[in-house]
């Protein structure tokens, strides 16, 4: 698969300095602290980062799913150049969401209705968004199940979600998401609940759909291996911000931000044996009272005076950005991996 040649410059989705806050008993949680991100047509963007870094909240904001106690405090989200926020934006967004932009969640059981037949659920999307008749919807649903690799789709339409295995339910979710031929699919940890051999089936399916439908995909995951296999571009999140973006090959080969460097170093690889794993000391900051300055300061070996001021995301190469005062400086001594144990 030729992975790098297909995206063009016109962005489909732009997220601009987005801030999201949650009013909780613990205080005001700054879930997103100025996220800026864009995705082009036919592009696959991987979003990675630690638990709580803001990956899901970013996706929820695009889909209009930020609910009490959360709110979008500032910033903008644009689809093909038009804002999805504000009164006008809301109206525009209703036409877009579920149709031009669709989402697949981590746990298919929470997003499928357990008491409705699978065919009824897919059919409803088609009738609502595309105005199909029940009969047309049924024919199309059958095609969709076949397209996501479910055998005997006609019979399967009449079954309930609990009669499907985890991998098959995720396929059903993907079938529903692509029912209206969206231009952008946002997948939040679509394979995290699945076993690796089933995960491989789903990732292969996503890659095929990307090719055959010219789909753009935002793939949220904490698995760097999944990103490496599927994504053109990567965005790395830390404590509610994007701290590095770039072409996947580049980010993996020459990570610029110390956190990205640390993340790659601490990820064990199946194809390498080292005698010691490397970890990043410490833990991510609390988002109720995030530190002034760089949010990685407490864990960063390079941190110094300058880092008390917050670094902004800035170009480090034409198609790569990092938010660090000393980008591309090795934060830990080389070599990246301790030499293999020889036998």
């Amino acid at each position: 698969m030729n992975i790098s040649a297909m995206s063009n410059n016109e962005p489909l989705l732009e997220i601009d300095r987005l801030k999201v806050e949650f009013d909780t008993r613990r205080g005001l949680v700054q879930g997103l602290r100025g996220v800026t991100l864009s995705i082009g047509r036919g592009e696959t963007l991987g979003v990675v980062g630690e638990s709580g870094s803001g990956k899901s909240v970013t996706a929820q904001a695009v889909m209009g799913l930020i609910d009490m106690p959360g709110r979008i405090a500032s910033g903008d989200i644009r689809w093909k150049g038009r804002s999805l926020l504000g009164a006008d934006g809301e109206r525009y967004a209703r036409d877009i969401r579920g149709k031009e932009v669709a989402m697949v969640f981590q746990d298919p059981m929470t997003s499928l209705n357990p008491v409705l037949r699978v065919g009824t659920q897919i059919g409803e999307v088609l009738e609502r968004h595309l105005g199909m008749t029940r009969k047309q919807a049924r024919t199309r649903s059958e095609e969709l199940l076949a397209a996501v690799g479910i055998s005997a789709p006609g019979r399967r339409l009449d079954q309930h979600p609990h009669e499907f295995s985890g991998g098959m339910r995720q396929r059903v979710m993907i079938a529903m998401a692509i029912a209206c031929e969206p231009q952008l699919l946002i997948a939040d940890e679509p394979t995290t609940a699945l076993d690796v051999t089933i995960q491989a089936q789903i990732l292969e399916l996503l890659a095929e759909l990307q090719q055959s439908l010219g789909l753009s995909i935002v793939l949220i995951t904490h698995d760097l291996g999944v990103v490496a296999g599927l994504c053109h571009r990567v965005a790395v999140m830390y404590a509610g911000q994007i701290i590095e973006t770039g072409q996947a090959e580049d980010v993996f080969e020459r990570p610029a931000h110390p956190y990205t460097q640390g993340l790659l170093r601490s990820t064990p690889r199946l194809d390498e044996v080292s005698d010691r794993l490397i970890s990043i000391d410490g833990t991510p900051p609390n988002l109720v009272t995030p530190p002034d300055g760089c949010s990685f300061q407490q864990r960063c070996p390079l941190s110094g005076e300058a880092c008390k001021k917050a670094p902004q995301l800035a170009h480090i190469r034409p198609d790569a950005e990092a938010a660090c005062w000393q980008p591309s400086t090795p934060a830990w001594a080389t070599p990246l991996m301790t030499p293999s144990i020889s036998h």
């Binding site: 992975i3 076993d195 690796v196 990732l203 698995d223 291996g225 199946l270 490397i278 970890s279």
Partner: protein, 333 residues
């Protein structure tokens, strides 16, 4: 206080499991209203030596946790034998079982729910000592616990704090300190790092390796992450739908897998490197892991295996040795 254990005779395993089976009840009523049961584990065999880690890998529901719990004598076994330090412990009970349990400890997967939120760290770590009647009051063990907390790398003032004051990685350290309190020789670690972020996972894995070197512990390390298992294990066993399909020394298994399922499993694990990952040959078999309550007859992988023949669909293959220390259960490989 943490004295290295005296090494056992060089060739006697610390733990030897032979033909282990476990049967569960389904909850559904079978014929004549008798509870229906199914085989969750069949014919599991392995040896584990002191100072050694056996990685136990398999997909969800394959029987990893069941194996760990059976070996620790926490659930009933339906077949086979468990030998610990030369003694058959399959039917040990009463006071002897209590004594035995001191020597075999469990570290849990979930550092968030496995610690009682209302207990201070010192009480959590001291609890096994109290339960086993080794101390009558927590204060008797203060020094010992201080030492334990130091060993697992927790701050000295951790004693009187509650679990919520600690991050996931630190909570897992508390769980490990607790498991070490009784100075066991054998630890079952059931997915000890699965719930942790990558950047802190290594802290816990490294700690476990250091403790093993220092104390000669034997680990049964349960995980579904094959990359972590490769890192920590000396030997690796692969389970599929309640049966062991392959067991071998670590590098032998990863570099020369023999069973078709092991091969597919290894090829499916993504490598965090775009160039390598996009060139890797993936073996993607359709189908799903079979339902254990109604398993296919014969080889349990036969519903997905491209090499399956008549024989595979009729008779279950036994584990046999293919090269020294490398055992595989397959008719056609």
């Amino acid at each position: 206080m943490l004295n290295p254990v005296s090494a056992p005779a060089p060739h006697a395993p610390l733990l030897s499991v032979q033909g282990l089976g476990v049967t569960y009840e389904t909850g559904a009523q079978g014929f004549w209203g008798r509870p229906k049961s199914f085989d969750a584990l069949q014919d599991i065999s392995f040896d584990l030596h002191a100072g050694e880690t056996l990685g136990l890998v398999g997909e969800s529901g394959s029987g990893k946790t069941t194996t760990g719990r059976a070996v620790l004598r926490r659930i009933k076994t339906s077949a086979g034998k468990i030998v610990f330090k030369g003694n058959d412990i399959t039917r040990t009970d009463g006071e002897a079982l209590r004594k035995l349990r001191r020597n075999m400890q469990l570290v849990f997967q979930d550092p968030y729910s496995s610690l009682n939120p209302r207990m201070r760290v010192i009480d959590i770590v001291a609890e096994p000592l109290l339960v086993h009647g080794l101390i009558r009051h927590v204060d008797e063990a203060r020094d010992r616990i201080t030492e334990l907390l130091r060993v697992v790398g927790l701050p000295a003032d951790a004693h009187d704090r509650f679990p919520h004051a600690f991050s996931g990685g630190q909570r897992q350290r508390i769980g490990i300190a607790r498991a070490l309190a009784l100075q066991p020789e054998f630890i079952v670690a059931d997915e000890p790092v699965s719930a942790l972020d990558v950047s802190v996972r290594a802290q816990v894995v490294n700690l476990m390796q250091d403790l093993q070197k220092e104390l000669g512990l034997g680990y049964l390390f349960i995980a579904h992450d094959l990359s972590v298992v490769r890192h920590i294990s000396h030997r690796v066993a692969i389970l599929y739908a309640g049966r062991m399909v392959e067991i071998a020394d670590r590098d032998d298994l990863y570099d020369h897998p023999i069973h078709p399922y092991t091969e597919a499993l290894l090829s499916a694990v993504p490598v965090p490197d775009p160039r390598t990952q996009r060139q890797r040959k993936r073996i993607v078999y359709g189908g799903e892991v079979p339902d254990l309550v109604n398993p296919p007859p014969g080889c349990r992988f036969s519903t997905r295996c491209p090499l399956a023949t008549e024989q595979c669909r009729k008779d279950a293959p036994k584990l046999t040795e293919r090269s020294p220390r490398h055992l595989v259960a397959c008719w056609n490989r």
